[in-house]
Symmetry: C2
Subunit: 414 residues, 2 copies
């Protein structure tokens, strides 16, 4: 390999390495990258559902397994995947070497099952690259200062890839997924959905939705902080995917980039909450302690000293959330708790909307004009989200995609 | 745990940790050992057939996977098992910590897939023991001086256990198997078969046979060289198993300790081989190069300048052995090659027969007197093996077990 060739980190998730056939396809892709004049550094997750299987085995043998042992256990998953990917690359005639997180120089704190990276010292990775070998690194792994194996948590392979790209000064970090990039909306709902060439880190962070690639938030934040350009693409096509980079690098800026939706949430409402300071804080602290993932939160202006608090949670968290809410409601003297799992969330996302307050009005008019009732509204600087009935959400997506002419390409800030 | 309590290494093979239920049973056994006043150090193999599964995956992705990557791959197996065993021990209220071969201080050469131990520096294991924690070590693993993961080969967990017992000055090394010790013969064939209390390393090394525990030969040799007492026993009973130690420690010495048999071999004969120096050497070098495991070799005295060479191989190696033999036979001008897979081997083993040449005569008389024809004979200082028809081997075992009165306990050297 040409020693001046650009270094590119390529991260393959569990789906991309789910079986030996896919592993051979990944190896083929990596080898083509080499032939194409780049120097790839590969990061892999565990195969398919292997991490889930390991966690199930742990639950079978112990009620509360120590974190240190959980990390020893789950890192067996990436170890297997990385060795197999490496063998498959070698088999295609390109020398390759696999590295654990420790061997790759990932020094972390000792917070087992959710360790933080303290430093990346990829000396062995650099040596392998310079010797013309393709390094294959186990994702989400590190080593603590007591020489114990640590795991960065679910989705940690994205973080490994971005941190390694930064430490190596790689030209970019490619995140391979089963879709070929980030689309203006879910292509399964709107056939005219268009793959975007570029979006900003902030936009990607707002895009947790159906049919949308979901790099771990932590890795996107790391990339934003350190200016590591991400390239979200498919391993099974040579098309360009979607580049994610800092906003100021954009030549042109869309007002609205994408319409996304999420049907995996339910709404919880606590009615008649006395309007005293600290009640909301107490409620959401209790939910956080119960590991409930709260998404949108809406509290209306108080009327007659009482208010209603609504929020959305993933369906899977509802059973845990309800008793917590009922306990808090009873403690503070609220009227009652209602839940609704027939809702969905639709959001428009775009960095350009910061300077275009009219976007919210267009969203509300579009939905109202098509007979779609809005149950909750929540906004950030670059996102407007509405909760609507679940059976109307696909209509909502289609109408909003049309209203902002997203199929035609970026509508620029003037 | 009492800091003066004896240290005992306990090695559990793949069958003992085949699923999460068995892993909990192993943990229970280890915890009882602690309550019993000993300080166990646990060594585990990969779960059940996991190593085979990993090797199959490797073959699926690559024609000739590099040894370094094979070792990275297969060590994922023990890693998983050791973390789960460790969790299960913790779950029973006894603190435990798992260690890779590298963390346990196994320094090896760089011969991947079949590395040799150069040194064992179990500092972290000692620290864990002194802190009252049960160390659980991944078997067959090490690290080379280039910081690469190495594997000691199949059966390497026995070697790990014995080497660790030696390095820690353990009182003994317990090898857990699915039988409760070493028997005077296969209990499935002879109901009066008796579990032996003690045998010598040399005797155990001669006992590769059906129904007999088979610690890796290398580990038994290591134990013999370094005087590590082995205790072969079952994890699922508190009975004593069979102790294996140096001969001079015996109070009494049996002439014949056991009758063992093996039905997994086939016989190959090359007829009419010209009696020139170097022909046998060339044949067995060619077979070794083809990775054929040759067991018994018999060459008759030459008559009229030609001889016959016979040897036995495992059934699984026969298909590879035949073309090699036919090529060599044609090169040297031998008459022809015949094979016979209807044979079996029966052996009597005993350290005391060294000084009792009459044993061979008793063996031959017993077989002949019961109408069992002997097709091949091979002897060592402490073993006499005969090849007979496979359908007569169980009779042979029964008659020999009777002839030496093995059900009654050791027959002593007078």
């Amino acid at each position: 390999m040409d020693s001046s060739a650009p270094i590119v980190v390529q991260k393959f998730g569990g789906t991309s390495v789910a079986d030996t056939e896919r592993i051979r396809a990944v190896a083929d892709h990596v080898v083509r990258t080499v032939r194409h004049g780049e120097r790839p550094v590969v990061v892999v997750s565990a195969m398919g559902k292997e991490t889930d299987d390991l966690l199930r085995a742990a639950r079978d043998v112990a009620a509360s397994p120590p974190g240190r042992e959980m990390d020893m256990l789950v890192t067996a998953g990436e170890r297997k995947a990385m060795a197999l990917v490496c063998m498959a690359i070698n088999d295609l005639g390109v020398p390759s070497e696999s590295f654990t997180g420790s061997q790759a120089g990932f020094l972390t704190d000792g917070t087992h099952t959710d360790a933080r990276i303290l430093d990346v010292r990829p000396d062995r990775i650099r040596a392998a690259i310079e010797a013309g070998r393709v390094p294959v690194v186990g994702g989400a792994q590190g080593v603590s200062d007591t020489n114990d194996v640590t795991f960065l948590g679910r989705g940690g392979s994205d973080t490994t890839a971005v941190a390694l790209a930064h430490a190596l000064g790689a030209r970019s970090c490619e995140l391979y997924t089963d879709v070929s990039g980030v689309f203006t909306t879910d292509p399964r709902v709107v056939s005219e959905a268009r793959r975007m060439d570029r979006i900003s880190f902030d936009e990607l962070l707002e895009m947790t939705a159906n049919g949308c690639p979901k790099p771990a938030m932590r890795s996107v934040e790391f990339a934003r902080t350190h200016g590591v350009d991400l390239h979200i693409r498919s391993a099974f096509t040579w098309e360009q995917g979607t580049w994610v980079s800092k906003e100021e690098e954009f030549m042109e800026q869309a007002i609205v980039s994408a319409v996304v939706h999420d049907t995996d949430e339910a709404k919880v409402t606590i009615l008649g909450v006395p309007d005293r300071p600290g009640i909301a804080a107490g409620l959401f602290r209790s939910l956080a302690d119960a590991a409930v993932n709260v998404d949108m939160i809406v509290q209306n202006t108080s009327a007659d000293g009482h208010t209603d608090i609504s929020f959305t949670v993933p369906h899977g968290d509802l059973a845990v959330a309800i008793p917590v809410c009922e306990r808090v409601a009873s403690e503070v003297g609220a009227t009652r708790v209602t839940t609704d799992d027939g809702i969905a969330r639709v959001s428009v996302v775009g960095a350009g909307m910061r300077s275009h307050p009219g976007v919210a009005a267009t969203v509300f008019e579009t939905l109202a004009g098509n007979g779609i009732n809005i149950e909750m509204i929540s906004t950030s600087a670059i996102r407007i989200s509405c909760v609507v009935r679940q059976d109307q959400v696909e209509q909502a997506v289609q109408h909003l995609h049309d209203a902002f002419s997203l199929a035609d390409g970026p509508k620029l800030v003037d």
